[in-house]
Amino acid sequence: MTFDIALYLGQNGVTLAAIYALLAFALVLVFAVTRVIFIPQGEIMTFAALSLVAMRAGHPPLLAWLLVGLGVVAWLQDATVILRTGQSRRLLRAGIVYLAPPLFLLAVVYSQPLSSLAYPLQIAITLAMCAVFGPLLYRVVYAPAAQASVLTLLLLSVALHIALNSLGLLLFGPEGSQLPAFTDGSFQLGGMPVALQTLWIIGSSLALLAVLFLFFRFSLYGKALRATAVNRTGAQLMGISPAFAGGAAFLLAGVVGAWSGILIATTTVIDYEAGFVIGLKGFVAAIIGGLASYPGAAAGALLVGLTESFASFWASAYKDVIVFLLIIPVLLWRSMASGPHDEEES
């Protein structure tokens, strides 16, 4: 291996790491706040990327209809509770909360000349759809079981993953697609061409993570989410609704997942089931960080990205095996370091 090749592989590994870091961040956030291991994170990625592809081809993304459907289900779920207490005014309010955003987005994607919109605007619509998608998934699937064990929530995640995977085939078809780079072109760095898109990926990931850091450190909502993560009951006693915290965590996961999906679709071909393995790699990164620490998850992402890149050079047939093997020594080390503990922590 020459120095040139090592540079290439390093650049490639860091690019991958930037995307895995976003995924790992979302997984850690969702787990800390709601105890949900969010396997369908991968589907959020693919749904976002493929919706954007559809829009660029001038087709209204069918994801908008899925959102309306989820909104109706969420509203019915609330209605069963509200009707029992007989407060019909709350029925209307719940209807507005759950149905107004999906219907607005549906109106947007059917009224706008999608293919002629500017690329950033198309991306904004996609992110908005996923910002609605995340909380609705939480409301419909996880909130009714919010008090259940981690294992139950994990099984819900598996079920949701399979359901979304099949829906993905229905909504987007079996074929893969790719998105164009935000900015074409490349420049020379130390004798190696670096694509401008690589800068976009690494730069936007770092910027997004920085914004989220500031959000959690300084804003009231961020602090509320952190409080829920530290102690759910304590936070509830301080007036932080766990349902609100869950919805907020899923909103962030939706937006971050969508952004990472769009980023990765500019570098590779994404089809309806591509998200799962990519999501799993984000998960490996999150595990390396103990599913609790954001800097740990970011370090894990860097390790996964670089390992993947260099493994693909030396032993491409075993690349994924090597990446997923990383998890075993980490788990061994973590369980030895932390000592024995209960099966169920909740």
Binding site: V269, S309, S316
Partner: protein, 387 residues
């Protein structure tokens, strides 16, 4: 009570009788309509929709089941088709693992089965269960041979190989490395990548370090775009070869101008309009191309549809012959008659080649089933046929 039961029984018998009068011959299909192989199964299903609804004066009913790209499901589907739908023949499966898994079931029930998958072991050697299998698909060996001979004719001495890290990639590696050796081409690098890989930079760098004249990408569908784009990004100037696994419109759409100049061996049915008029398959290939494009739009032809179409041609040929010696009412006799009729397929032009079946070969394709084409401005441009 007994009277009531008799009435119900009579009603059921009448219904059953009407059922068989409406659909005299049932053809089952096991396709991968969902799961990883959906991009194969869906065009195959579209093709089956175009097959004749009446052959030899008999109504044909098609029952298509989805195996979800899962061999276990394929076996269940095949059992269901045989036991409850009473099919005379089966088309499928879409992929080799499913097709191999179905062998025991269709062999034991003695149902003629036309596989759409390309694994050599599905149809060879013709004995036991495989006596019931027919395969209107070019074997990997045939395609690999055509590709490596074309490479040699273009002066390629050193070639790099990158393939899927699954059965398809291995099958190509096994056949291509042997054929390349025969054509005196040196394979200087062999790499693998996952169909859903996020990056193949490492593999591509490894290939380029060995300075090949050309690179062969052995993958299928849109995932095959990634190595091609990465090769060009890192600055590979040589010729890139793909396989017939990419011969569908979505590959062209996703790869765009990057794929200009890419060479591949594919089914001649896809370039039917460019075949010269004096080739044996011109007419049969045009019939496929015109029917398919009329239904699904221009430039919709693809590798998987040509195989499914030829499966339909086998039935169109065999059913009238079988009807002369057996009645569809006598299912096992009719299945046997269908099988024998298909073994007798001789000098039979399909959409993608000329079939010559024999007691030892239920594939029957030769070099007339391979065209060499180049991608130019998002179209398949025929370079060489017959190969």
């Amino acid at each position: 009570m007994r009277a009531l039961r008799r009435v119900l029984l009579a009603a059921a018998l009448t219904a059953a009788g009407m059922g068989s009068a409406m659909a005299d011959i049932t053809v089952g299909a096991v396709l991968s309509l969902t799961g990883p192989a959906a991009s194969l199964g869906i065009p195959e299903q579209k093709t089956l929709d175009l097959l004749p609804k009446e052959i030899g004066g008999q109504k044909i009913r098609y029952v298509v089941l989805d195996d979800r790209s899962d061999p276990t499901e394929a076996v269940k589907d095949a059992k269901q088709l045989i036991e409850s739908d009473k099919v005379s023949a089966i088309i499928g499966a879409s992929v080799t693992p499913s097709a191999l898994a179905m062998l025991d079931v269709v062999g034991a029930a003695k149902v003629p089965t036309i596989t759409l998958a390309s694994g050599y072991n599905i149809a060879f050697p013709v004995s036991g269960n495989r006596e019931w299998i027919f395969m209107p698909v070019q074997t990997t060996a045939l395609m690999a041979q055509a590709t490596s001979q074309y490479m040699a004719s273009q002066g390629v001495r050193k070639v790099g190989f990158i393939g899927f890290d699954n059965a398809l990639g291995e099958d190509w590696w096994k056949n291509f490395s042997a054929e390349a050796h025969a054509a005196k081409i040196h394979v200087v690098a062999s790499e693998r990548f996952a169909p859903n890989a996020t990056s193949v930079t490492g593999q591509v760098l490894h290939i380029l370090a060995s300075k090949p004249d050309a690179v062969l990408i052995a993958a299928s569908g849109t995932p095959a775009v990634l190595p091609e784009k990465t090769l060009r990004q890192i600055g590979f100037k040589g010729r890139i070869y793909q396989t017939h696994g990419v011969a569908n419109p979505d590959f062209l759409r996703v790869c765009g101008s990057t794929c200009d100049g890419t060479v591949l061996s594919l089914s001649p049915g896809i370039v039917a309009a460019q075949l010269s008029d004096d080739t044996e398959i011109k007419q049969s290939a045009m019939r496929f191309a015109q029917t398919y494009e009329k239904a699904y739009g221009p430039n919709s032809l693809n590798q998987f549809s040509t195989a499914a179409w030829d499966a339909g041609l086998f039935l169109e040929y065999a059913i009238p012959k079988a009807l002369k010696t057996a009645s569809p009412e006598d299912l096992s006799a009719f299945r046997l008659a269908l099988r024998q009729a298909m073994v007798g397929i001789h000098n039979f032009p399909g959409s993608q080649g000329v079939y010559n079946m024999s007691a030892t070969n239920h594939n029957g394709l030769d070099s007339r089933a391979v065209a060499i084409a180049e991608i130019r401005a998002g179209q398949w441009k025929l370079l060489k046929y017959p190969n």
